[in-house]
């Protein structure tokens, strides 16, 4: 598992639940308590173990944890880099949804060994969209669901999101999105120039 993903999970757990809980969870999972290195690779077993211990220490189901992680990656952490990189995808929420088909290729342009899901976007006009999302890691689609909530918020769109997890491990998940209002709120501003928000 790429260090970027483990580190995102670490910062999410530390920021949301405090350093003491992080130490407890990481010790229990055999994960490095001092933290992951973003640019190194780790055994996938560590990520599984960390999620398991987070579930039991926090008493929170994994699906909810992963969804919160997805929203956290977009709206907190790392000077909003992920949010900005995602906003490059489109001018409005629909443009952004379409750009998800390029997400894997885009991410790998920057970090070639980052394992991202393959996402297929199906339009069901006028307001429904269906995302078929592969799961390189079980629960990937739940993280994506959190990302979608946060990005809808960012664009100011009002949406309903429904996730049907894969029936068998290794199969794709289906996320259906209903766009109720593409400009429900003003959303947050985005400028191409870096450092401009």
């Amino acid at each position: 598992m790429h260090g970027l993903i483990n580190r995102s999970l670490q910062i999410f757990l530390q920021d949301n639940y405090g350093p003491a809980k992080w130490v407890e969870m990481s010790k229990k999972a055999g994960a490095p308590t001092e933290g992951f290195e973003a640019m190194l690779s780790y055994d996938t077993g560590v990520t599984h173990a960390l999620l398991e211990s987070a579930e039991s220490v926090l008493g929170k189901p994994r699906a909810a944890l992963l969804e919160d992680l997805g929203s956290f990656i977009v709206s907190h952490g790392n000077e909003e880099r992920v949010r900005r990189l995602l906003r490059f995808g489109g001018e409005d929420f629909v443009g952004f949804l379409h750009s998800l088909e390029d997400l894997r290729d885009r991410a790998q342009l920057a970090v070639p060994d980052l394992d991202m899901p393959v996402i297929e976007v199906r339009d069901e006009p006028p307001t429904r969209f269906q995302l078929i999302c592969s799961e390189p890691f079980p629960g990937t689609s739940q993280v994506l669901q959190g990302v979608l909530w946060a990005m809808a918020d960012d664009y100011g769109a009002l949406v309903l999101i429904d996730l049907v997890p894969p029936s068998k491990p290794g199969e794709a998940a289906e996320i259906s999105i209903e766009l109720l209002d593409s400009s429900h709120t003003e959303g947050r501003s985005f400028r191409l120039a870096s450092g401009a928000g």
């Binding site: 970027l4 290195e37 973003a38 640019m39 190194l40 790392n78 880099r81 900005r84 990189l85 490059f88 489109g90 001018e91 443009g95 885009r106 342009l109 920057a110 970090v111 985005f190 400028r191 191409l192 120039a193 870096s194 401009a196």
Partner: protein
């Protein structure tokens, strides 16, 4: 040759090529795309002569527009008249049937600066333009480089820390044998004069046996303090074993100076050391050898000779210092 009649409305042109403009055969701008207009604020492009606004930088030496329009088309670099700092636009132009031209422009590599200078957004670029992908990459690359830099910094710190630890005696903070070997090799390679002062504690075993190892450790830390007071920047204080220490003194070979240092060390070590309710008393036997005694100094040899001198001090009743050169001359006299 196939000829297809193609006519594009201004709106279509604007959508296809937001950075394009059309000029008439006389060089008057008849159309300017929305992004081109955006980067020339306060200036009405349509109706102006193209050379009032733009300066042809390539092809080089092309001043007369007529000359340019004689050709069918080609690459062109345009600057802004009177605004050198605005950079250069790159583009391609093609002649139109009415004798004018369509020129499609882009920022080239200057796009990173251009987006912040003109506050450009996604909609200002044609979807076929890879400018946005490039900006995305620049930003992703800086993020990755930032992470890599901080990883390199952390590794560098860890390396320095590990190196320091590898050369340090953990109890006393003095240097260890590995550091001693490196320092001696450096001095000998650099052909510098130096002296070794070998210190072997007296009565240390009694302290350990009577008051325990904690007291012993306390005494060793105290010894380190006394020794550190005697060294200068280029010198080294080393703990070479249990209760054995060594001073490596660079450029200091006078016997008077060395004896003075040795006696000061003995005096310093003989001051009783408090440890809880206990009072620990130690002293030291010292042996000294200078590199100048040897035609070709060799670390092992000099160390062995300081050992011999230290043994002589012990043998003579402890709490004293012996210069190896004195032993040598005594040996010579004995031989005579």
């Amino acid at each position: 040759m196939t000829t297809i009649q193609k006519t594009l409305s201004d709106a279509a042109l604007a959508q296809l090529m937001p950075m394009s403009m059309c000029i008439s055969g006389e060089g008057m701008i008849t159309f300017a795309g929305p992004t081109l207009n955006k980067i020339c604020p306060g200036r009405e492009l349509v109706g102006a002569h193209v050379l009032e606004v733009f300066e042809v930088k390539r092809p080089r030496g092309t001043h007369a527009l007529a000359q340019l329009l004689k050709q069918l088309g080609g690459q062109v670099h345009l600057g802004f008249v009177g605004q050198k700092d605005k950079g250069t636009l790159r583009g391609v132009w093609a002649r139109t049937e009415d004798g004018g031209a369509v020129i499609n422009l882009s920022f080239g590599i200057g796009v990173v600066d251009a987006v912040s200078t003109y506050d450009l957004n996604l909609g200002d670029f044609a979807p076929t333009d890879l400018a946005v992908e490039m900006l995305y990459l620049v930003e992703a690359k800086s993020a990755v480089t930032g992470e890599l830099n901080s990883l390199t910094r952390r590794l560098e710190n860890a390396r320095n820390e590990a190196e320091k630890r590898a050369f340090t005696d953990t109890l006393t903070g003095l240097h260890n044998r590995r550091a001693m070997d490196a320092a001696l090799a450096r001095l000998i390679d650099g052909a510098r004069d130096f002296a070794l002062v070998h210190i072997d504690l007296d009565f240390f075993k009694q302290v350990n046996d009577t008051y325990g190892h904690a007291a012993g450790d306390h005494v060793l830390v105290h010894v380190a303090k006394v020794l550190c007071a005697e060294i200068e920047e280029d010198d080294l204080a080393v703990r070479i074993g249990g209760d054995e220490f060594l001073l490596i003194l660079a450029d200091c070979v006078s016997r008077e100076a060395l004896m003075k240092i040795a006696l000061r060390v003995i005096d310093g070590l003989e001051v009783p050391i408090d440890f809880g309710d206990a009072v620990c008393r130690i002293s030291a036997s010292i042996g000294i050898a200078q590199s100048t005694l040897y035609a070709e100094p060799n670390a092992d040899r000099i160390l062995a000779d300081t050992d011999t001198a230290t043994y002589a001090s012990k043998h003579a009743g402890r709490a004293q210092a012996t210069m190896f050169e004195d032993l040598k001359s005594q040996q010579k006299q004995a031989a005579v």
